[in-house]
Symmetry: C2
Subunit: 351 residues, 2 copies
Amino acid sequence: MASELAALLQEIMDIESVSGNERELADLVEARLSGLDHLEVFRDGDCVVARTGLGLGERVVIAGHLDTVALLDNLPSRYEERPEGDVVWGRGACDMKGGVAVMLRLAEEITEPSRDLTWIFYDHEEVDAARNGLGRLSRNRPDLIEADFAILMEPTSAQIEGGCQGTIRVELVTTGTAAHSARAWMGVNAIHALAPALDTLAAYVSEEIEVEGLVYREGLNAVGVSGGVATNMIPPSAVLSINYRYAPDKSADEALARIEAWFPGYELHVTDSSPAARPGLDRQLAREFVTAVGAEAHPKYGWTDVARFSELGVPAVNYGPGDPSYAHRADEFCPVADLDTCAAALRRFLS
Amino acid sequence: MASELAALLQEIMDIESVSGNERELADLVEARLSGLDHLEVFRDGDCVVARTGLGLGERVVIAGHLDTVALLDNLPSRYEERPEGDVVWGRGACDMKGGVAVMLRLAEEITEPSRDLTWIFYDHEEVDAARNGLGRLSRNRPDLIEADFAILMEPTSAQIEGGCQGTIRVELVTTGTAAHSARAWMGVNAIHALAPALDTLAAYVSEEIEVEGLVYREGLNAVGVSGGVATNMIPPSAVLSINYRYAPDKSADEALARIEAWFPGYELHVTDSSPAARPGLDRQLAREFVTAVGAEAHPKYGWTDVARFSELGVPAVNYGPGDPSYAHRADEFCPVADLDTCAAALRRFLS
């Protein structure tokens, strides 16, 4: 079984699909699933959706993206025997064609599922959010995304990672008055005006927040600062870019309210905001999934597309083969054992 | 008299001499002064030095630069009658061909001075210090700069401005550890490490320091800040550029020591350092100059070439026609009355 999944993973990887170039791989997925009696297949751009329609009362979405980040001389794929276990090496092995291989195999194999299934293979995940294929599908065909539970097969080393933290970025802008630095008292120094904000950031202690049994860890950080016009001029403006990563007990609005409370009196501009996703582990289907996988659930600190399901009221978890810390690296790989583990767990849950 | 000086100023202005293009104007100065019995003329590049050699025991330098900053559609010059008094308008009127006109006229006129005179017309003042013509002359012919007192005819609105403040700039560098901002605790934020330094800057109160009867006003300011690599990354480094303007009671080393005391534990790199100049108003010649001018002496906050004389042990003051706040502006001008005032005062002092 493992070798069959590894071979499928290599076949998928060797169809290069850097974001924007997903067509050939989407065609392959569509072709393989279109001929099957138990699935109805839809296409939206280079997003392929395959659904069972057995009227089982409950529906589970399993989703994964077809695209990868740019190549770093890491295709074609290689099968490698390593002391710690065999791996498939190359672009996409980890993020996330291992998950796509498991999805494609199980979509074909599970003809009589225990709940109705929606398999979503989508495009443009590794680029700016506006082009995200799952986002586009939710606008074009929201009915195709409806479900009671969603599994996003991003790499988690075959562990369950529940929900995801939200992220919001603001630019804190200070305004002063330019003057020659030999006569500083004629001006107002906008960089000096950042001092209270930096004090708040330096004094911040990361909060740990439990949501549905998972402990999230928040973060409040400056990610950029700039100011100054000339070396002999009192700077008339400065900008501090602040990123707040917050637990899924808060909405995006609540996160912004906390930022406003931390930095009173400052001019703030939101430049980026992606809501958190609750893990949804209080739902019956999620509990059954955890039992079927037989693994402990962990919190997801980073932001992923599970938040899109959460926004639609669908509880979602991250679960897939591959160590996420290797994502986007030139030497990314997927342990063959992870493919097997994930396929077996999903087979238990879905059959 | 006023109209004669204004005409000379316009003649000098209409010979464009943006830094690097001083030759034609230097040639004019050299030609006018070379034929005179009472002066010995020297040339060093586009610097012209004219000296009396009467063995009078005391020597006064009067210096001014021939170059201007770039044109802003402000040549040829114009003579304008304004309600507040006639002016000459155009590039160099203020900074500092008004002073050069007075110098040239008096160098020709004062054939029997009360102390020996050295007139220095120099190049490349408006560019980086390494190319400064007065600096070059002090290296090539230090004997030509020796004097008991120096008058730099930079614009001061015909007021005496004594000495000049020193300026030192340092880059304060912080180092952290990069990490994904979703896992901030894996990294160390270099921007946050700027907080104590900004607190010191924000709390700084300008010190007023009396030197030889003049009250200088110091300044400590951030003039630039930068940091941050990507909006989802904990910044591994940040740089704060700090400018300290200090009174002439301190050497450059003492100024640096104060900066080191203000910012303990930080990595500091000196990027620029120009020493202060004492006003020298405790000297007999300087007191006589103040009496001859009949004006109160003020401190000079900015840095000027008087510091070069001060380094050679020659007390120096700034004194010249034109409002310094118009220097480098497109609409710079010189009041004709200032030309008259300065010429009359120098005639009293030098004759």
